[in-house]
C-alpha cells in the first residue's frame, strides 16, 4: 500500500476514534479531569519542591495519563463490540491500524497538555523556556505514552483487564521516575537505588521537559533523553504489534 493511502487510513481511523471514544468515562477522567485536578492541586498545594519542578510534574503527568489511557481504552472497547474485526478485515495493514489508534491518543493528550501549561505558565513566569524544545519534548512524551498504552492493551478484551495492571505500573513509574520531586531527593537515603530511575523511560520525559522549561543545563543528557524515548517508542510499538498479531492465532 502506498504511503499516502496508509497515511489517509491513519487519519480515517483516528478521526473515527475521536468521534467514538473521547467521550468515554476513562478518557474524560484520566485525559482531562486528572490534569486539571493536578493543576488545582498545584495552585492550592503547599510547595515542598520548587515551583519549576511542580510545573514539570503536572506537564509530564498530563501527557502520561492522557496518552496511555486513550490508547489503552480504544482497542479493548473495539474488541468488546466486535468492531475490531472490521479494522482487521479492511485493507489496512496492522501497523497503520495501530498508528491510527495512537494518533487518536496523541490528538487528545497533546493539546490538553499544552492547554494546561498555557494556563499555568502566566502564573509562574517563564524561566528560560525554550518553546520549540518544549513542544518536541511534550510530543515525544505523549507518543511514548500512547505506545505504552497500546502495548498494554493490544490483546485485551476488556478495559478493566487493562486498567488495573496498567495503573499499577503507571503509579510505580511515576513514583520512581522523579515526577513529583527530583530523583536526587527521592533516592536521598538510598543513592545506590538511583539506577531504578534510569531504567524507567518516564525519567527521560521528566528531564527533557525540565530542561525545556528552566533552560538547557546538560546537553548530553538531553540528547540521551530524546534517544532513549525514541528507542522506547519503537520497542513499545513492536511489542504492541506482536501482541496484536498474536490475537489472530
Amino acid at each position: 500500500m502506498s504511503i499516502d493511502t496508509s497515511l489517509k487510513k491513519i487519519f480515517v481511523i483516528a478521526a473515527k476514534d475521536i468521534k467514538t471514544y473521547y467521550s468515554k468515562p476513562p478518557s474524560l477522567f484520566y485525559g482531562i479531569v486528572l490534569p486539571f485536578a493536578l493543576f488545582g492541586a498545584f495552585l492550592a498545594g503547599r510547595p515542598c519542591v520548587t515551583e519549576d519542578y511542580r510545573v514539570v510534574g503536572v506537564t509530564v503527568l498530563s501527557t502520561f495519563f492522557g496518552g496511555t489511557t486513550i490508547a489503552a481504552v480504544i482497542l479493548p472497547l473495539e474488541r468488546r463490540s466486535g468492531t475490531i474485526d472490521r479494522l482487521i478485515l479492511a485493507p489496512v495493514s496492522f501497523k497503520t491500524l495501530l498508528l491510527g489508534k495512537s494518533l487518536a491518543g496523541f490528538t487528545f493528550s497533546f493539546p490538553v497538555t499544552l492547554l494546561v501549561l498555557s494556563i499555568i505558565l502566566p502564573f509562574t513566569g517563564f524561566w528560560n523556556l525554550n518553546p520549540l524544545l518544549l513542544v518536541v519534548s511534550i510530543a515525544l512524551s505523549v507518543i511514548f505514552s500512547c505506545a505504552f498504552g497500546l502495548a498494554f492493551s493490544a490483546s485485551a478484551n476488556d478495559v478493566a483487564d487493562v486498567m488495573w495492571p496498567m495503573n499499577f505500573v503507571r503509579f510505580l513509574m511515576i513514583f520512581f521516575s522523579g515526577v513529583f520531586m527530583p530523583i536526587d531527593e527521592i533516592y536521598l537515603y538510598m543513592p545506590s537505588l538511583k539506577f531504578i530511575a534510569y531504567l524507567l523511560p518516564l525519567t527521560y520525559s521528566v528531564d527533557a521537559v525540565y530542561q525545556s522549561i528552566v533552560g538547557i543545563n546538560d546537553i548530553m543528557m538531553l540528547i540521551a533523553d530524546f534517544t532513549i524515548l525514541i528507542a522506547m517508542i519503537i520497542l513499545l510499538y513492536y511489542i504492541a504489534y506482536r501482541r496484536f498479531i498474536k490475537t489472530l492465532t
Binding site: M1, T5, V12, K19, Y21, T83, P91, T249
Partner: protein
C-alpha cells in the same frame, strides 16, 4: 471496485473464487475445524450448513483472515490470504456472526467510515451508500445514532457496511439468525440479487430452508468435518431410501403415543412427521393405531427426502434433536442473540 492484482485461479472451465486446502484450526487440544477442503466457484451461491459448534464461524474466520489456520491455507481468487492479505481484503466483504457497528455513530457515519477504510472515492461512496440505505430500508433513519437501532436494523446496517466497496466475494455468517420475517426476507432478497449480479456468496446458516432455496451448492459440516458437499437436489437423491410421512390427526395425540408406530417421529405445528424406510407398512400401522385410539385422520402425505433429512442423517442428530435446536423453520424463533 476492480482489482487487477489478484490473479484468477481456474479449475477446468470454472474460475475458483474461494478455496480451502487442508484448512485446520486447533484451540489447544481441541480441533474446531479439521482438514477442510473445498472450492467455491466464481458466481456461485454456497451454503455451509451445520449444527451449533460445528465450526462454521471458525471456517469463515480462517477464509477471511480473521483467524490464522493452524494448518492449511485459504485462497481467494487464487491469492493466499495470509501471504497477500491486502489484495484479498480489498475484494471481499464480510458479515460477521454478531452485528458489529459503531453504536456511537449514525448509520450514515458508519457507512462513510466503511467506505473510507476501503478507499471508495467520496462521490461514488455517497451514491452507493444512499442506494444501500434505500435497499435495506434504513434511509429515513440514516442520521439516527445506531445505538437506538433494533436488532434487525443493526443486522441490515452490518450487511450494508460489508457492501460499500462492491466486493466480488461476500461472506455471511448466519445473516438472518434471530430476525423477523420482514428483515429475513429483505436480506435474502438483497443477497440473492447480488449473487445474480455476479457476486460470489459464501453463507453459513442454521436454516435448512434457507440453504435449500438460495444455494447452488451446500456443504454440511459437523464436528469440524465436512461431511457432504453437493447441490441440494443431489444431496437429497443420495440419501434416497428414507421417506417421511406427514400426518394430521384429531384430537392431536402426544408425541409419545405416535412412537408406537415409529421411533423417529417429529412434531411440526399441529402435524406429525414420521420417518420410515417402508412407507406402506408405516401408513397401515398409523391407520390401525388411529382406529384403536379413535383419532380422526385429517390428512396423510408422503414426502420425498428434504435437505433436512440429509442434514439429520449426516450430522447424526435425530429429527427430535433438530427440532429442539430450532434448526428448521426460518419463521421459528431464532436463537436469542444479535
Amino acid at each position: 471496485m476492480k482489482n487487477e492484482n489478484v490473479c484468477e485461479a481456474v479449475d477446468g472451465e470454472l474460475k475458483v473464487a474461494i478455496e480451502a486446502r487442508d484448512l485446520t484450526k486447533q484451540y489447544g487440544e481441541f480441533t474446531a475445524v479439521n482438514d477442510l477442503n473445498l472450492k467455491v466457484f466464481d458466481g456461485e451461491f454456497f451454503g455451509l450448513l451445520g449444527p451449533n459448534g460445528a465450526g462454521k464461524t471458525t471456517t469463515v474466520k480462517m477464509l477471511t483472515g480473521l483467524s490464522k489456520p493452524t494448518k492449511g491455507e485459504a485462497l481467494i481468487m487464487g491469492a493466499n490470504i495470509m501471504e497477500r492479505p491486502l489484495d484479498v481484503k480489498r475484494i471481499i466483504g464480510v458479515v460477521p456472526e454478531v452485528s458489529n457497528i459503531y453504536v456511537e455513530m449514525t448509520a450514515w457515519e458508519n457507512l462513510i467510515f466503511a467506505a473510507e477504510l476501503y478507499d471508495v472515492p467520496r462521490g461514488e461512496a455517497v451514491e452507493r451508500i444512499k442506494m444501500l440505505l434505500e435497499v435495506f430500508g434504513l434511509y429515513e433513519r440514516r442520521h439516527d445514532k445506531s445505538a437506538n437501532f433494533s436488532k434487525g436494523m443493526r443486522r441490515r446496517l452490518t450487511i450494508a457496511m460489508a457492501l460499500v466497496h462492491n466486493p466480488r466475494v461476500l461472506f455471511l455468517d448466519e445473516p438472518t439468525s434471530g430476525l423477523d420475517v420482514q428483515s429475513t426476507r429483505n436480506i435474502r432478497e438483497v443477497v440473492r440479487r447480488l449473487n445474480r449480479d455476479g457476486v460470489t456468496v459464501f453463507m453459513t446458516t442454521h436454516f435448512i430452508d434457507e440453504a435449500d432455496n438460495l444455494c447452488n451448492r451446500v456443504g454440511i459440516i459437523n464436528k469440524g468435518q465436512l461431511v457432504a458437499l453437493d447441490t441440494p437436489e443431489r444431496l437429497k437423491q443420495k440419501i434416497g431410501g428414507r421417506v417421511s410421512i406427514e400426518v394430521s390427526l384429531q384430537p392431536i395425540p402426544s408425541l409419545e403415543e405416535l412412537k408406537e408406530v415409529s421411533s423417529d417421529v417429529m412434531k411440526t405445528g399441529d402435524k406429525f412427521i414420521v420417518y420410515t424406510e417402508n412407507p406402506s407398512i408405516t401408513i397401515s400401522e398409523l391407520i390401525k393405531l388411529a382406529n384403536a385410539k379413535e383419532w380422526k385422520i385429517i390428512s396423510v402425505k408422503t414426502l420425498t427426502p428434504s435437505l433436512e433429512d440429509v442434514f439429520v442423517k449426516l450430522t447424526g442428530l435425530t429429527a427430535v434433536d433438530v427440532e429442539r435446536l430450532e434448526l428448521i423453520r426460518p419463521s421459528g424463533r431464532g436463537r436469542g442473540r444479535e
